[in-house]
């Protein structure tokens, strides 16, 4: 059954000790979409198996951190139980979603656009076009609540991080660095290049779950004018913005 073969994750797990309340299940070392899909697959298998003592899990680029209660289970027991989940059929279908995120790449909302263009040998319009043309895979959330690490950026937009990080990056900033793109969900320090801003709240405590995205989701950016940005920002402020409107059909 070729189709099942294609869906089957090739498991290569290393169980790394992370103290007595967490176990790192490493599946590789780099940033790679196939690896990320395998990490999300493993997380759903563990979730479905409802293993006793698993408190929560954090999927990342290349590993899954399984937080556990050492009064209920042990790293040894979990290692055995997780190993046994791998043989159970093809990849678990995860309910990943596709998003179309409006972003304004203009003026003061895009403070690094000119420099990114200059350093990558493009015009600003080409940078916008390239950034908005790709569908990005959400690898993981981290750094800030709801902050998505997404990729992969077109090769010609790859740049190292800023030499000196900014002390203050505004919330909503659309940023790029290395092969990745992200949205700063809160104002914070940051070392990525800011090429636009989205008015969409990526983390909202009144939503359940509060983070807009989850690992495995796909995101595209849709360039909008400053006027549209301001209008959506107003709707968000007045709580009249429908978050489902950015779900791709």
């Amino acid at each position: 059954m070729a189709s099942i073969e294609q869906n089957q994750t090739k498991w290569d797990l290393r169980f790394l000790p992370s103290g007595d309340t967490a176990l790192t299940v490493e599946q590789g070392e780099g940033v790679d979409r196939g690896l990320s899909v395998a990490v999300v697959d493993l997380a759903s298998r563990i979730e479905r198996a409802a293993l006793a003592g698993v408190v929560e899990m954090v999927p990342t680029f290349r590993s899954l951190l399984v937080h556990y209660d050492p009064l209920v289970t042990s790293a040894a027991a979990l290692t055995e139980q997780i190993g046994a989940l791998l043989d159970q059929g093809p990849a678990v279908q995860t309910d990943s979603r596709q998003w179309c995120i409006p972003a304004c790449y203009e003026g003061d909302l895009a403070p690094d656009l000119e420099e990114v263009a200059a350093r990558t040998g493009h015009t600003p319009a080409q940078v916008i076009e390239l950034h908005a043309a790709s569908a990005y895979h959400v690898y993981m959330l981290g750094f800030l609540p709801g902050f998505p690490y997404m990729g992969d950026l077109p090769d010609s937009l790859h740049l190292p991080r800023l030499g000196t990080p900014r002390v203050r990056v505004p919330a909503g900033s659309v940023a790029i660095a290395m092969g990745l793109t992200a949205v700063y969900t809160f104002e914070s320090p940051g070392g990525w290049h800011l090429i636009g801003r989205t008015p969409i709240p990526f983390f909202n405590l009144r939503r359940e779950p509060p983070a807009l995205l989850r690992p495995g989701d796909t995101v595209k950016f849709a360039p909008i004018s400053r006027e549209t940005y301001d209008r959506i920002a107003m709707d968000v402020t007045n709580s009249t913005f429908e978050i489902d409107s950015v779900l791709a059909a």
Binding site: L16, P17, T24, G142, P209
Partner: protein, 349 residues
């Protein structure tokens, strides 16, 4: 409308903390929670609260508070409560006390810890945010408006008043002295370090630097050399993880740590020793000892049994009127000696 606890002076970084926020790290939300969960659980026991009830945590210097309710019952960990008045009265830690309307009191500087706690019977009437009242100030989540307390804040109380009953103290307060060595489990990225770096890490003393907050403690001392570079594709961080950035100076990740990070982690402090690490202050010395994961899990069971035993062994409190500073001092000295044996019998090198 129940009463409040009024903040006259906030102390240093006084926040509402419980045992932390569980289940949202996958979204990038740190767990936060008490730096010293042992102290939190014990002060809660003294006022009859569930162990995970949120209390006030303060760093280095406690707040000055005023009772704006008919009465409240509180207990402090780490420092004395000084009831302001003529003359002022001091209530030692690990003892409950009922305070009436208008009483103004302050928490003195914790003596042997970076952090102190004040538990309030019934707890605080604050919203539970993502399942917890713990404050994560960086993203303004939880606690009192998501921030450290300020002067003139009024903390709403759950319980309208505190019934009169005999006050209690712990018959066996925990020893707040630092253990000789903090136990760690090597990994997850010990393979990123040279053998010499691992040996240095386990042999040398390190000093807690001034860069110490609820997020982590940066240590000074020997430089730990990476064997395979110091950038890794980000992975998850457990509380107690010791990450080593390019400088080679280790950082112990505490309650407010980010959920993921891109530096190799040489080892992880075991959960039974994390409360002691949470109590460390800048200038304190720390040494490490490596044990296995199963030994760490066993140590945690020992700690749990110890907390339960101490929580149950409540005896009548010392009558406040009977106290003077000399008697207090003598009592602290005596209990310190008793506790030292208490702890060492259980799990010391």
């Amino acid at each position: 409308m129940n009463g409040t606890l009024g903040v006259m002076a906030p102390g240093i970084h006084t926040t509402v903390q419980d045992l932390g926020r569980v289940g949202y790290q996958a979204l990038g939300v740190p767990s936060a929670g008490a730096l010293d969960p042992v102290s939190l659980r014990l002060v809660n026991a003294l006022v009859g609260n569930e162990p995970a009830t949120a209390a006030l945590e303060f760093l280095y210097q406690g707040p000055t508070l005023e009772v704006h309710a008919p009465s409240i019952r509180v207990a402090a960990a780490g420092s004395d409560i000084e009831i302001l008045g003529e003359p002022p009265r001091r209530i030692p830690p690990w003892q409950s006390i009922r305070l009436t309307q208008g009483t103004r009191f302050r928490l003195l500087a914790p003596q042997r810890s970076a952090c102190g706690y004040l538990a309030i019977q019934g707890g605080l009437a604050l919203p539970s945010v993502l399942g917890s009242q713990s404050t994560y100030t960086r993203s303004r989540i939880g606690g009192f408006e998501g921030r450290a307390l300020g002067a003139k804040d009024a903390l709403p109380l759950v319980q309208p008043a505190a019934e009169t009953r005999a006050e209690v103290r712990l018959s066996a307060p925990p020893d707040m002295a630092q253990p000789e060595r903090i136990r760690v489990v090597l990994g997850p990225q010990d393979a990123y370090f040279t053998e010499a770096a691992i040996a240095t890490f386990l042999a040398d003393s390190f000093i807690v630097s001034k860069e110490a907050d609820r997020m982590g403690l940066r240590l000074e001392g020997s430089v730990l050399t990476h064997a395979r570079g110091y950038n890794i594709a980000s992975d998850g961080i457990a509380t107690g993880a010791i990450q080593v950035p390019g400088s080679g100076h280790p950082i112990i990740m505490l309650a407010d740590h980010q959920t993921t990070g891109g530096y190799p982690k040489i080892a992880t402090v075991i959960s039974a020793d994390l409360p002691a690490v949470g109590r460390l202050r800048p200038g304190d010395t720390i040494r490490f000892r490596a044990i296995s994961t199963s030994e760490a899990e066993a140590a945690r069971r020992v700690l749990e049994a110890d907390i339960k035993r101490r929580s149950r062994n409540l005896v009548p409190a010392i009558e406040v009127g009977m106290l003077n500073e000399t008697a207090l001092y003598a009592r602290n000295l005596v209990s310190g000696i008793v506790n030292a044996t208490d702890w060492s019998s259980e799990d010391s090198p």
